[in-house]
């Protein structure tokens, strides 16, 4: 079923694209009275007629396969009611309706025996075929992966539409052109040779522009669907895309040979044009066309493969390149800088060598050597060990509950060697071949979340680190990764002052869920983009004065867009009742869910009374440590005003650690 659906997609795409290309090629070649040219036009038209029927029939098969997919059962493909439902109720169905209508009109136009004797009639009929073919092809963009790109869906659809249309002109035009060249290169084709040469030149000019558009839109779409190098080499979608790229390069190489050599050999007028040269060009163009059809097969496969962005990439290499390594390593930075400049020099030399005529070989060879030396100089310092899971995205978001369970797991499984505080000073670690890593150190930030996950799962045999893939579930291991991130960034945050550093957010506030009384749970995330949050951790026995101070400035804080969330250090269902009549506190008091929040935020600051100022994007910007005495709330309010005055709000952090 899958294979049939895929084959139908391929046939459908190829026929829809060939219809556009055939019409384009006929228009480019123009009207002619030469018998060979007319025979060619009639052949292409006859092919188009049948292709229009093939496009309709294969479209029905694809739609049926899609229906089976949507309904989750193969039988639905044969039920008219199910197919009708898909047509009427889904966006893909709407696209199909429009396209079927247009394809039917196109088929009617092609099959009708219209008289095209006059020049006006000819242009109207052929132009209409191109118009209908193009607007029947372009809507596929609104039913493919581009329609699922977020954000900027409209931009992705527009790019895809342009890409598809470009493919129609270039890919679809190749085979008709090859047919024309072959007919003209034949023994009795002399009458159409000037016509064929002109057509080839016009097509070559148009194709150059179209290929540039295809490359540009294709690159932008690949970025939208794949995202990064890991997605390109680590997922099925990415690898298919690489295969497509290789085929595209092969087709472009043929095209380049045609433009640079074969087209030039067609110089001269009419009958003097060399038949062998034209036959060679015909063969090369046909080869290009065949490669293009193979590319369409890959495109059909890509269209039923989930885009790399939504897949977990498996990194296939033992190393990766990381610029983060260069921070605080001036020697390596200098080497990379020099190496990159040498490489650029090599590239310039290469470009010059290719552009110049004569003495090309030594220049190109020399440039390649320089380029290689530059790359060899620049890359090694950037290489970092990598693992299959290096670019895996954590399946557990960076949340207080996850960090808290990670902390508990850490105490149970890791503290013996890595030490209770993560300094690598646990009693059991002394006997290991290599001292356990200091998990608080900034270098922890150089490793991706996926690296940590790999070490947790598979251990580090040479260092004596055991593997935990049997003992701990995947979720537990991610909890540990989240805890380690909080631990090392908390260690870096131990000196964060009570004043904000303007425009320099770096400490992500872990999300958490809390409940006030019997109302439904809320999360920190809900305040993103709307409110600044003052997160207060208090111990009621000593914090009454401070709570009263904050409560007294309720109006000012609300006016400045501050939401106060107070978390008791000791989780208590009756936290509000305990505060009682005085002070009259009206801001949110967490009555449920305090425990994990305290456990996670304790890693950032541990004091009897702590207040975190969290900006609208979800970054902790300032920390006030105290004992619960009434202090100077005006200072906090001044910091909030500075936050409100920040010109460019920083981008919100992602839901997961990296």
């Amino acid at each position: 079923m899958y294979a049939l659906g895929l084959a139908a997609r391929w046939v459908h795409l190829a026929s829809a694209i060939l219809l556009v290309g055939a019409a384009t090629m006929i228009l480019l070649a123009g009207r002619s009275d030469r018998p060979t040219a007319r025979r060619w036009e009639q052949r292409v038209l006859a092919g188009s007629r049948w292709l229009s029927l093939v496009a309709l029939a294969s479209g029905v098969v694809v739609l049926a396969a899609q229906t089976a997919l949507f309904e989750g059962r193969a039988g639905a493909a044969f039920e008219l009611s199910s197919i009708a439902r898909v047509l009427i109720e889904t966006q893909a169905g709407a696209v199909w309706l429009v396209r079927f209508g247009l394809l039917a009109l196109l088929a009617a136009l092609l099959w009708s025996r219209l008289s095209v004797e006059g020049s006006l009639d000819w242009r109207a009929a052929r132009g209409e075929a191109l118009l209908l073919g193009a607007i029947a092809l372009v809507p596929v963009a609104a039913a493919g992966h581009a329609a699922a790109v977020e954000p900027e869906t409209a931009r992705a659809i527009a790019l895809d539409a342009l890409h598809v249309l470009g493919a129609g002109v270039w890919v679809g035009g190749l085979l008709p052109l090859a047919l024309l060249l072959r007919a003209a290169a034949g023994e009795r084709g002399a009458d159409a040779r000037p016509y064929a040469v002109l057509a080839a030149r016009r097509f070559s000019r148009v194709a150059l522009g179209v290929v540039l558009v295809l490359l540009a839109t294709g690159t932008l779409l690949a970025i939208a669907n794949v995202g990064n190098v890991a997605g390109l080499v680590g997922t099925t979608y990415g690898r298919l895309l690489v295969a497509k790229l290789v085929l595209v390069l092969a087709a472009l190489a043929l095209a380049g040979v045609n433009r640079a050599i074969h087209l030039g050999q067609l110089a001269g007028d009419g009958p003097t044009v060399g038949r062998p040269a034209m036959r060679r060009l015909a063969t090369f163009v046909a080869g290009e066309g065949v490669i293009a059809l193979a590319i369409l097969g890959l495109v059909a496969t890509l269209s039923v493969t989930p885009p790399a962005r939504h897949e977990a990439p498996t990194w296939p290499f033992a190393t990766r390149l990381s610029f983060a390594v260069l921070e605080g390593a001036p020697g390596a930075s200098a080497r990379v800088f020099v190496g990159s400049q040498v490489a650029v020099l090599g590239l310039v030399g290469l470009a010059a060598g290719l552009a110049l005529r004569g003495r090309q070989l030594p220049l190109v060879a020399g440039a390649l050597v320089v380029l290689g030396a530059g790359v060899g100089l620049a890359l090694p310092p950037l290489a970092v060990d990598a693992y299959p899971t290096t670019y895996l995205r954590p399946s557990v978001p960076y949340q207080a509950t996850s960090i808290a369970s990670g902390a508990a797991l850490y105490r149970e499984h890791c503290a013996a060697c890595h030490g209770a505080g993560g300094a690598g000073d646990g009693p059991a670690g002394l006997r290991l071949p290599r001292p356990p890593a200091d998990l608080r150190a900034p270098h922890t930030a150089l490793h991706t979340a996926g690296d940590l996950f790999w070490w947790l799962s598979n251990g580090i045999p040479t260092a004596g680190m055991p593997a935990f893939s049997r003992e701990l579930s995947e979720e537990q291991r991610w909890d540990l990764v989240n805890f380690l991130r909080a631990l090392s960034s908390g260690y870096a945050a131990r000196a964060m002052p009570a004043t904000i550093a303007l425009d320099r957010p770096w400490l992500v506030a872990p999300d958490f869920t809390f409940t006030v009384g019997p109302t439904s749970p809320r999360s920190l995330r809900e305040y993103r983009g709307r409110r600044t949050v003052l997160l207060v951790f208090y111990d009621l026995a000593r914090a009454r004065p401070r709570l009263a101070e904050i409560a007294g400035r309720d109006g000012t804080l609300a006016l400045l867009g501050v939401e106060v969330i107070a978390v008791p250090l000791h989780d208590a269902r009756d936290a509000i009742r305990r505060i009682g009549r005085e002070p009259r506190v009206l801001f949110s008091i967490v009555t449920e869910g305090a425990e994990p929040i305290v456990a996670a935020y304790r890693l950032f600051a541990a004091a009897p009374h702590v207040e975190f100022l969290i900006d609208r994007q979800g970054y902790i910007r300032a920390v006030t440590r105290g004992s619960g005495e009434a202090g100077d709330l005006d200072r906090t309010i001044a910091e909030v005003q500075r936050l409100n005055d920040e010109k460019a709000p920083p981008a919100a952090p992602e839901e997961h650690v990296h």
């Binding site: 009109l105 219209l114 109207a124 019997p518 109302t519 439904s520 009756d574 509000i576 949110s588």
Partner: protein
């Protein structure tokens, strides 16, 4: 038939088809908008309504006959928040203290609503 005539007819048919679809959807959207507006108006009209809401008592201001309650969503009236509500009678305050989790009845013509009954849930 001459080809250019056929093509002109075809394109006319296309334009009519697109226009018809545009008008069809436009009319449908306009109708849905009207219905939505009507439904909104009905919700906001001067009809007395009643809600039963869960919340937690934050403050009691007997001199003003006001209860401050942190409550969940009140459908069609307000989002979850901490809010002062007028008590319909002074009796409402009796037996209620700060920190009590309650279920209270809110009645009135929005935005003039008052607490008409309140009971502890815990």
């Amino acid at each position: 038939m001459r080809a250019w005539k056929a093509v002109v007819l075809l394109n006319l048919a296309l334009v009519v088809g697109v226009g018809w679809g545009y008008v069809f959807w436009g009319l449908k959207v306009a109708r849905l908008d009207r219905e939505l507006a009507l439904a909104r108006a009905a919700a906001a009209s001067g009809v007395e309504r009643e809600w039963v809401v869960a919340g937690v008592v934050r403050a009691i201001l007997p001199e003003l006959d006001v209860l401050v309650i942190t409550h969940g969503e009140i459908t069609g009236l307000m989002a979850p928040m901490t809010m002062g509500f007028r008590a319909a009678s002074p009796k409402i305050h009796e037996g209620i203290s700060i920190g009590d989790e309650v279920r209270f009845t809110l009645r009135g013509v929005p935005p003039n609503v008052a607490v008409t009954a309140i009971e502890k849930t815990k």
